[in-house]
């Protein structure tokens, strides 16, 4: 329990967000949208971490999430840079069409 909020509610919300994020990552062909889905997944994880941290009565949840957000920022910038470079070459954002490593 976190105040009056049962932990299971938090976890349910987190799980739902994560599943939506996975669905987006697997089923979309637009690279930007895949990326956004991944960011959503990370946020779902953040929520779960914070929930557990509060329920366990420790600061560690918040600390971890702090770092996660920082790293997410770094990752997003680099990922978008890659995306920009890729788009310059291929003129497409359809991930299906980027298959140079095909057998």
């Amino acid at each position: 329990m976190i105040g009056t909020i049962p932990l299971s509610d938090v976890l349910l919300a987190s799980g739902a967000l994560f599943s939506i994020g996975i669905a987006g990552a697997l089923l979309r062909r637009n690279a930007i949208q895949i990326f956004l889905s991944i960011e959503l997944m990370m946020n779902a994880a953040n929520l779960a971490l914070l929930g557990y941290g509060a329920a366990l009565g420790t600061h560690q949840g918040q600390i971890i999430v702090f770092f996660v957000i920082a790293i997410a920022a770094a990752e997003a910038s680099v990922g978008l840079a890659i995306f920009v470079a890729l788009f310059r070459h291929t003129e497409t954002i359809d991930v299906n069409k980027i298959n140079l490593l095909k057998w």
Partner: protein
């Protein structure tokens, strides 16, 4: 002066081998000769330094251990050497004859070979001497086997000395393979001995067998049979004799040393050494006698139709070895060993003489091209004649006493004795006939070769004639060591000398009443008469008539003659029965088992891997979404595993 240790006797030629093998090519022929002959001579001196005190002393056996070789569980083999009457006798003539042949080889091989070939020859000769001495002096079956295999190896190396000639290389291989078949029997016999007696040392095995004959007798039939198979291979008895005539492809000193005087007698030595075991297996003894007798006759009949000088001598050797086994088979082991000794002297002399003739005839050995060589090669002629008379059994030459002793022992043997005696007698006549045939065709009459050969004929150099003379003299006198009892109570020196090696066995004393003297004289007279008639017949037909009568006889029965001249086509029979099926089997094993099956399995494995790869590569779609899906599926699997586990 301290007595030299026994192990020194085989060690000296081993050192000679090592020196000549490693340094010989670089240091020239004189050095090689000095080392090779020197080693043989030195070991003879050392051997005699031990022999003379032994012979004049108490004849008590001496065993000198050198080192422990195998000490595992209940198997303990030492390297020990034994000097008793039997090994002393062997040592006596093996070293001396080997030394003479080494001297002979200097002259014979001098312009035969390059420096490298010369060194190789003498190295192998020394190695052979080492192996033979180990065989003779070893105190256990295992050590004898080491020497046994060693002489087989050297036989292969030396018969195939001219390895660039296909015929010689094949002959070497044949000698080794046929010997190997015999060795298999020897090995089985050794296993049997160890299983039955728990030891491979002579002293232990023979003591146990002599003390408890009834306990060991049942196993000994098989054991002795196996051992005799080994002897058949090494000493060229039917059916394992086929290698010996082919082995004449080697240089003549090799034929003289290995295939006349020493290696081939190893089988007889082995049987004599194991006399305690054989005497407890009378069926095997009878078998030995029959094989020996048959071989003597068989080889003798082949010899009368051969035209190659060395081939006749080879068949003659097989025949004489048959006589030795005949003697052993009827229980007269000392007589067999006596014949070994006399045979060594006169057969070596014959072979060396043949080598001298070969030298003179520019390597042509066909006696139909020879004739009248007596005038130009007197030393060779007289020594050859002396040895011929010895082998024919004419008194007072050596062969007479030994052969006559064999025939009388056969005569008085209770089982098949008279038959064995009669066949032996007939073979003696054959022997005299074919030996004098070659003497006549080679040395008497007109020269039948080419003009160039006629010019080339010359007597051999001193290094070759000296051994001939010594051996010729020995062929005459060495027989006097074994005079039969009719000449006096103590006339026989050999038999009492060898007696300790043939101890009495409890409950198996052979009822050995000596033949009445009258019978003995009669038998002697008969054998002399048979031998003399053989000689005269040969003289008449070949020396006097130039071979017209035998030619007419051969023409009148061409099929039979062809069969005999073709050595009864035994080689062809073996080829058909054994060699071809074996070659076929090897071919099948190669083509089917090795190439098809084994290689096929490997290739199939590789093919399967390739196939798998061909399928698996479709996983690499290059599409990142597919990879992400794969990750996710793996994650689900992991979750299922974690959740499902409890």
């Amino acid at each position: 002066m301290t007595t030299p240790p026994l192990w020194l006797i085989p060690a000296i030629p081993l050192v000679g081998f090592a020196v000549n093998a490693l340094l010989g090519t670089r240091l020239g022929k004189s050095f090689v000769s000095a080392v090779g002959v020197g080693a043989a001579g030195l070991t003879t001196i050392v051997a005699y330094a031990r022999l003379i005190p032994f012979a004049s002393g108490s004849h008590a056996p001496v065993v000198e251990p050198l080192a422990s070789w195998i000490a595992v569980a209940n198997l303990s083999i030492d390297i020990s050497f034994r000097l008793d009457s039997l090994s002393a006798l062997m040592l006596f003539f093996v070293t001396f004859v080997a030394f003479l042949i080494h001297v002979y080889a200097i002259g014979y091989m001098h312009h035969e070979a390059t420096d490298a070939g010369y060194a190789r020859f003498f190295a192998y000769l020394n190695l052979f001497l080492f192996a033979m001495l180990t065989l003779v002096l070893g105190e256990s079956f295992l050590l004898m086997f080491v020497g046994w295999e060693g002489v087989g190896l050297c036989s292969y190396l030396l018969v195939g000395y001219y390895f660039d000639r296909a015929y010689a290389a094949a002959a070497g291989r044949k000698a080794f393979v046929v010997n190997r078949i015999g060795d298999y029997g020897f090995l089985l016999g050794m296993f049997g001995i160890f299983a039955a007696f728990g030891s491979l040392n002579y002293s232990e095995v023979f003591r146990k067998a002599a003390e408890h004959p009834a306990q060991y007798a049942p196993a000994l039939s098989i054991i002795c049979l196996c051992l005799f198979v080994g002897a058949m291979g090494k000493s060229a008895q039917v059916p394992l004799y086929v290698w010996l005539p082919d082995a004449m492809a080697g240089p003549t000193p090799v034929s003289a040393l290995i295939h006349a005087a020493t290696m081939v007698t190893a089988g007889v030595y082995m049987v004599s050494r194991c006399n305690v075991l054989f005497r407890l297996a009378p069926e095997v003894m009878l078998f030995v006698a029959c094989i020996g007798c048959f071989t003597a006759l068989f080889a003798g009949t082949i010899a009368i139709a051969q035209n190659d000088l060395k081939k006749v001598l080879a068949y003659s050797t097989i025949s004489q070895l048959g006589y030795m086994f005949l003697a052993c088979g009827v229980g007269a082991f000392p007589v067999g060993m006596f014949h070994v000794m006399t045979h060594a002297c006169f057969k070596a002399c014959l072979f060396l003489g043949a080598g001298s003739v070969m030298h003179a005839m520019a390597d042509d050995l066909d006696i139909r091209h020879m004739g009248g060589l007596k005038a130009k090669m007197p030393i060779t002629f007289w020594t050859f004649l002396a040895a011929t008379l010895a082998i024919s059994g004419i008194p007072p030459f050596a062969g007479f006493f030994s052969k006559d002793a064999i025939l009388s022992s056969a005569f008085e043997s209770p089982e098949l004795g008279k038959l064995l005696w009669f066949v032996g007698l007939f073979t003696a006549g054959l022997t005299a006939f074919y030996m004098y045939r070659i003497v006549s065709m080679t040395f008497f009459g007109q020269f039948r070769g080419t003009k160039e050969q006629a010019h080339h004929v010359h007597e051999a150099p001193a290094s070759m004639t000296f051994p001939l003379i010594v051996l010729g003299i020995l062929s005459v006198v060495v027989g006097f060591l074994g005079l039969p009892a009719v000449f006096g109570e103590h006339a026989n020196v050999i038999e009492p000398f060898l007696a300790p090696v043939f101890p009495p066995i409890a409950g198996h004393e052979g009822a050995h009443e000596a033949l009445p003297h009258a019978t003995e004289w009669l038998l002697m007279a008969v054998s002399v008469a048979v031998a003399a008639s053989g000689l005269t017949l040969a003289y008449q037909w070949y020396a006097r008539q130039g071979g017209r009568t035998p030619a007419r006889i051969a023409a009148s029965m061409p099929g039979a003659y062809a069969l005999v001249a073709d050595k009864f086509r035994i080689d062809e029979l073996y080829d058909f029965l054994f060699v071809r099926p074996y070659a076929w089997l090897a071919h099948v094993l190669w083509r089917v088992v090795d190439v098809l099956i084994i290689d096929g399995i490997l290739n199939a494995a590789a093919f399967l891997v390739e196939l798998a790869g061909d399928f698996l590569r479709f996983l690499q779609t290059g599409n990142v979404r597919n990879y992400a899906l794969t990750f996710f599926l793996g994650l689900i699997a992991l979750l299922l595993f974690v959740v499902g586990a409890p």
